[in-house]
Symmetry: D2
Subunit: 143 residues, 4 copies
């Protein structure tokens, strides 16, 4: 039995993301989660850009982050993304954000974001059946 | 008996803060909370800029936001800030973010952020006694 | 004879806008110019939000900034905005960005941005006649 | 004879970087230039993070950008970076920003930024001799 689907995104912390405390400003972690989420959907064969072209928007309705250690400029950052929970109208992603380099590697933050599906007018809708099936498959350990 | 101390910050949503869904991108709400927190400390007679010059840094260790309705470009935004909890090494702020104009006014988000005190090297420290006293006073309903 | 129309926008530099050099990261000055531009249009009785609802988009095609002195967290910032040049399809705004407080006041940056009108599909178009007239009036010293 | 040193940085446009016009907000191009500059220095064997640890800061004093075509969410972006000019106290970088995918590839923007060296107190200083030599070497076509 394999574990549920997880993806890993890596990139470097940008100078623009630091603040005068000398570390990455905390709101940017939500942007890093978005990068993880984008790559996660892409790994399922569905890009978020396509979803929007088909009239499905995913809006964040809740975000939680625990910050464990600071990220610094030029650190190699790693975002691991998975699905915590899927419902007919909402999906919750989980994220572990870490530093890959320079050594020692470290866990920097844990986060979850819940997203609901909206149509082009911003009205809540059910997740499209094919997307729902993909997400459910990715949330479940394979036999 | 009066209620605990609360401050109100107002400003307009910036074009730069919108995303292609036509609404303010969710991570900016954490920046808006920071504006509320800055004004809250200022209202107690202590600016955060001064605190840093005295070697006290406040780092966010946890953030939670629930998004209730979208903010749009040029909306007049209102952030109400209060203290949820004070401990010797940490303080949790609460925020209600709303739209003042255009009509109708609306509640857009509820958030909390927990901050810990760090010295200039990033080592956790107790909140300085005078700051702790100010925060505790602000957290308590006056008689 | 009066001088051409100018507007003044004021706000405080945000912590999120600083970088690890301890000053405001340079790209945020372009956001501050956008605040100046938004207030300038509002002062002419035309909001940019309305323009977009009418199908007119203004896209930046060129930006130039000279940085003279750094802005710091919590500084009171002042953006003075005027029109440098109006053409049938483009308008160039000029900006002087300064610090109002703490003392001494200082000139922080000078900038220009050129914007062209686009329709909803992103195709270049002429500025709508009423907007063109407003901008030309604002660019000219009154008798 | 080879051409002067150039580096190429690639990454995807982030959702957080878009605005309600459906394209990347213009100020983010300056952040993309910073990514190019960081990679350019790294390719010379000198990281900007190290320079700062040695007490040398590079502050942007002038930026110019021409925007040729819009970048969109999830586009694969390519930043090509080179040195336009080196002086004892300043260096000017040139950038060409383009879209690699989806097809067709396109040139999106051309930019230059001039940076001066500052010491830890923000006082202008000469570029350190070894850095100056590296930059001059990178700016010159090799025989």
């Amino acid at each position: 039995m394999t574990t549920p689907h997880r993806t890993v995104s890596t990139f470097r912390a940008r100078y623009a993301e630091t603040d005068q405390m000398g570390v990455v400003y905390h709101s940017h972690y939500l942007v890093w989660c978005e990068i993880g989420r984008t790559d996660f959907l892409r790994s399922l064969g569905r890009t978020y850009a396509e979803l929007e072209r088909e009239g499905v928007y995913l809006a964040v309705t809740e975000a939680r982050i625990r910050f464990l250690a600071p990220a610094r400029y030029d650190d190699e950052i790693r975002v691991e993304t998975w699905i915590e929970r899927v419902q007919s109208r909402a999906v919750t992603f989980g994220y572990e954000i870490g530093r890959v380099a320079p050594s020692p590697p470290a866990r920097l933050a844990l986060a979850t974001t819940t997203l609901v599906a909206l149509d082009v007018r911003g009205t809540p809708m059910r997740l499209p059946p094919d997307l729902l099936q993909l997400l459910r498959g990715a949330a479940t350990p394979s036999p």
